[in-house]
Assembly symmetry: C2
Homo-oligomer: 646 residues x 2
């Protein structure tokens, strides 16, 4: 499927892409230009102006500050693809002009090393994010070219990539290193797919293949550097190679370790390369790592990363709800990876995870105004503990303002503005259209048998009625429509009608396959009635023992203090909680709330300062109310929990 | 009651004092002399030799290393009081000789500032523990004098205290500061009580009174020091005054904050001063803080300190079981404080807490061999999480070897070797003997009406039969015997007999008061039948919601993987668990185990990598086995939990 051929038209999602277009992108532009009152300056544009010689001054912000402008341009590229906007195009073109001016003669582009440490290029691949920034700018270049047809940034980044290719590799005289933060690997694949230039694919593969070889490049580089670090003064201990997944060659990795964003960005590139090069070892590594991450290290919300120490995975089944990390960027990276796995092989489990992360962890990270974000997405919050117990300081009960230097908000922007690209894939032989996500949209495909337009309408996430209307400008066309059977639908085979008549179908890899010669105007109805379910966690996930979560369709629910009082830990589910659901149009912009029977511990008979006393089973019945997780934290700050005692 | 008048003779406790005498004290002496193979050197003795000019070299160990020798000498003093030992006396006398040689002309004594930073005395009261080390050496001097009658160390420390008195105070020209780690305050009270010198009491009171006055001494000192710290290079931010409880004048403090050991050492001195000076404001502060600590910030094991960040209190009802700190030293400090509160007013609640901390948190910190210790005493352990989740690295599943530099092990040694001093107090008017702890012992009291000897026999913690035999060398004596009614006894009034005949009694402040003219040979039987109880936590303690702990008498129980398999979180209590108890002579040296009915989640039907699925209530009945908490971690490392789901 080519880019730009899907447009979202959806009651639920259109609001989000519009928010990104009308609020997030303009707001971030102000932030990049240090014009947001009360926010720390970003310095991003200023750094480029200094590097370009247009302004005097010192480098500001983080060593990877350039990537903020890159992510913004990438989001702009996606946005312009579906919503042309001359004014925004002008702003972006000017920024690209500036980037061109900041580029060095030899193609090198990085404002930190140009302004602050000239002559120190490539001396600290471990910490300095040079190739990472290059990767983000390549992604921006590809998105902007695809969205606008304009080549300027693409040319800049091809020049830079050519230069990088001349510096890195196994050939004599080249640096045999790779980046401390994976990102350029997946970006170079995009650049290859856009330009057709094989060298970019080869360079990406070099970075992936070289990673983890012994002796460690990072350890040797650290020795050469005099054992110093970009981040702290003085000498530091040898690099933790698990942190950036260079502890083993990637094909030998089976368990996700280290910084979770680095990990999923790398797995994304691995899956790309497995598909494009047919590398069985890479594919098997992807499949093993997928099973590990999504089977043993993922929260029910699609969050990954169990500890804020190193923003990292910890180990199998260790999924604490209160000291969680579950960084927004990590779930976004998981979505990137899931899409690549779907391209490798259309299996519904990949889309199930993609949808889980999207509707819960990622969507919940942004406030309804598009200006406040969670970086950490907890499943259990006690605001006083976040404030007063340092082990939970990273868990914020309130979304934070988008400050100058930030990774998650622009990542949300680029994902939501390209969400149209996540709905469908087309099989290699161009005979099957896979519908992974049920999001209202218009899509056009050039299939083996001709041009097909699909108009999808969906009532998700509130109702499970999905319709596809087939338009065939060139007349009847044979092709297979493959509709995902979501893992949250568990009442047998979903009903499917074509032209109002029940249609039988076979299920392959979790997709209902409807293979026929379609006529113009055919409609397919795909019925996935939503049921509210109690969900249990695997018994080895200690943190969820004796508890249940509520899920309805793709949405995970939570209970908040605003509806249920505090402490929410006092609440438990009745044996038969008789869950009832209703659409509350006035609540948080409208949502289906779930109510049920429970009981609360009766604290009335406890003296204030008697901490322990003989057990008396004193509970009183209580009706609880749960709201979709993605909407939590949009009222007064309070306690929240996804998992409820039963 | 004078010191040295109680000797423990108890089936349960004698083993511990013997362990301290025969193993802990000799082992620590080797450690102080850097002779423990495989352990980091302590440098403690070596530092004193260098300071005394007997050896060349550099200071080694922590800035407060002197306190290790002090705590050892204090334990030796207690041990010699009840078990004279010429060989040990010789060793200690030689060490004291060395200390004397290390003392400066003007009385100053601190090997760090003598050897490493001469001329920098008193320039970093915040970090450098100078007065803290002095305090520990004063405690040692008092204990050694009381235990042996030898004055040498007492004289050394009086000289140092006189010098400190000449340096600190509100008078012009004096430093108006106080120590970053409270300790000298309680030590000076002991010195006053031993020597009768009022200046020491006054100096202690000065340190307590001055603390928290504005502007902050520590903040000004930090400015004068150029905003540096002993602990890290470069400049640091302003001191966190809550950390060392100097955020407010002590009389205005109501909530325990900051480093928990510093806090309870300070509260101990405050209670001493309240008693000795009749200061109502101090007493009220002690009572407020006591209610806060023991009512809202104490674990069921008597542990305090909810976070390892700063080894600190967090806030009311925040008592996480798995990321807990509950440092051994903090519970020991709580015991010190409780004893002072009992001296202020004999109320059983103080002794209840003392007993809770002693039998659970403190006793559990030491291995049965006396050579391995927990610093952190968790209520829930998953060894893999301790190893792989950095937020739990401080929680060790195995007791650690006693390394050179350590605070908790010598603190355990000095507490256990002076435990005889915690059993009784005598009222101010010398007419009532309070029995706070039920520990077999022989005690002699000089009461208003004459000399009384009490021989206590106790079957605790396994059986609740306690007997007192009164010996009156001078014939009949009228006095009141006040026996604590423990808060774990909840079946009405315990039965009490005198000479085999039931005796009625009144209860005052939680003590059964038996007031009579006693005859030589009278025996009192005090029956506290032990019942195994399920205990619940206050509903505001979120971490324990829906759970129960098992307690029998003073002992809190726990379940271990060794008896119950893993994960222990899979286990829950039956509605009617039918708890049964039996003495298992072969288990961990003999203990009462508790068994009961529960159920475990059935993991057999779960695929390995399916983390979430619709709830099915699949449990199977299981019989669980709980052991006393203090014995946990003495078998193969495994999971442990005090709180069980119900």
């Amino acid at each position: 499927m080519r880019k730009g051929q899907v447009q979202i038209r959806d009651d639920f999602w259109s609001g989000y892409s519009e928010l990104v277009r009308k609020t997030v992108i303009p707001y971030q532009w102000e932030a990049l230009n240090d014009r947001v009152e009360g926010a720390e300056p970003s310095y991003a544009i200023r750094n480029f102006r200094i590097a370009a010689g247009l302004e005097e001054g010192e480098f500001g912000g983080m060593v990877f500050q350039d990537s903020d402008l890159a992510k913004w341009l990438e989001a702009v590229g996606y946005s312009l693809a579906t919503h042309p906007d001359p004014e925004l195009t002008k702003i972006a073109d000017d920024a690209i002009e500036l980037i061109g001016q900041a580029q060095r003669e030899d193609g090198y582009l990085n404002t930190y090393f140009t302004v602050k440490e000239p002559g120190k290029r490539w001396t600290n691949l471990l910490d300095a994010h040079e190739l990472y920034c290059a990767g983000h700018m390549i992604e921006a270049a590809v998105a902007y070219y695809n969205g606008t047809g304009k080549r300027k940034l693409l040319d800049i980044m091809c020049r830079f990539s050519d230069y990088i290719d001349s510096v890195f590799g196994t050939e004599p005289g080249k640096i045999r290193g790779y980046c401390g933060h994976q990102e350029i690997e997946l970006a170079l694949v995009k650049l290859y797919e856009t330009t057709g230039e094989e060298r970019y694919l080869k360079l990406s593969r070099y970075f992936i293949d070289e990673r983890g070889s012994k002796p460690s490049y990072f350890t040797e580089e650290w020795e050469r550097r005099g054992r110093t670090s970009h981040w702290v003064q003085g000498t530091v201990s040898a690099p933790n190679l698990e942190y950036n997944q260079s502890h083993l060659p990637v094909r030998e990795q089976s368990v996700a370790v280290g910084h979770s964003v680095r990990a999923v960005y790398m797995y994304t590139a691995m899956a790309d390369l497995a598909r494009l090069t047919g590398d069985a070892g890479l594919r098997e590594a992807c499949e093993r790592l997928w099973r590990n991450v999504t089977g043993k290290q993922m929260y029910i919300t699609g969050g990954i990363g169990s500890t804020h120490h190193g923003e990292a995975f910890s180990f199998d089944y260790d999924l604490p709800n209160d000291t969680v990390y579950a960084e927004t960027c990590a779930s976004i990276g998981l979505i990137f990876w899931a899409r690549r796995m779907l391209q490798l092989e259309a299996k519904s489990e990949y889309a199930d995870v993609l949808e889980r992360a999207l509707y819960n962890n990622v969507l919940g990270s942004m406030s309804k105004d598009g200006k406040h974000f969670f970086y950490v997405n907890p499943l259990e919050v006690w605001p006083e503990a976040s404030a007063k117990n340092p082990g939970k300081h990273h868990v914020k009960p309130v979304r934070q303002k988008w400050f100058g230097c930030s990774c998650c908000p622009p990542n949300v922007a680029r994902l939501l503005s390209s969400l149209n690209d996540y709905i469908y894939t087309v099989s290699e032989d161009a005979k099957t259209v896979y519908a992974h996500l049920f999001i209202g949209s218009e899509a056009a495909f050039d299939l083996a048998s001709g041009r097909v337009t699909l108009r999808q309408t969906s009532e998700l996430p509130w109702n499970g009625r999905v319709e596809f209307r087939v338009s065939l400008p060139e007349g009847s066309v044979p092709f297979a429509l493959a509709l995902r059977v979501p893992n949250w639908f568990q009442s047998g085979k979903p009903a499917l009608t074509v032209g109002g008549k029940a249609q039988d179908y076979r299920v392959e890899n979790g997709y209902a396959i409807v293979e026929r010669t379609w006529a113009d105007g055919d409609t397919v109805e795909w019925l996935l009635p939503l049921e509210t379910k109690l969900v249990a966690a695997h018994p080895l996930i200690r943190a969820d023992a004796g508890k249940a979560a509520i899920q309805r369709g793709p949405l995970v629910y939570c209970v908040e203090e605003a509806d249920n009082g505090a402490p929410v830990a006092s609440l438990s589910l009745a044996d038969e909680p008789k869950l009832a659901e209703r659409f509350d149009a006035g609540l948080l912009g409208g949502c289906v709330v779930v109510e049920g029977d429970g009981q609360v511990d009766d604290a009335s008979a406890w003296a204030d300062s008697v901490p322990y006393r003989p057990l008396e089973k004193r509970t009183k019945p209580a009706r609880f109310k749960a709201i979709p997780y993605y909407l939590w934290g949009n009222r007064e700050p309070g306690e929240m929990s996804v998992w409820l005692r039963r």
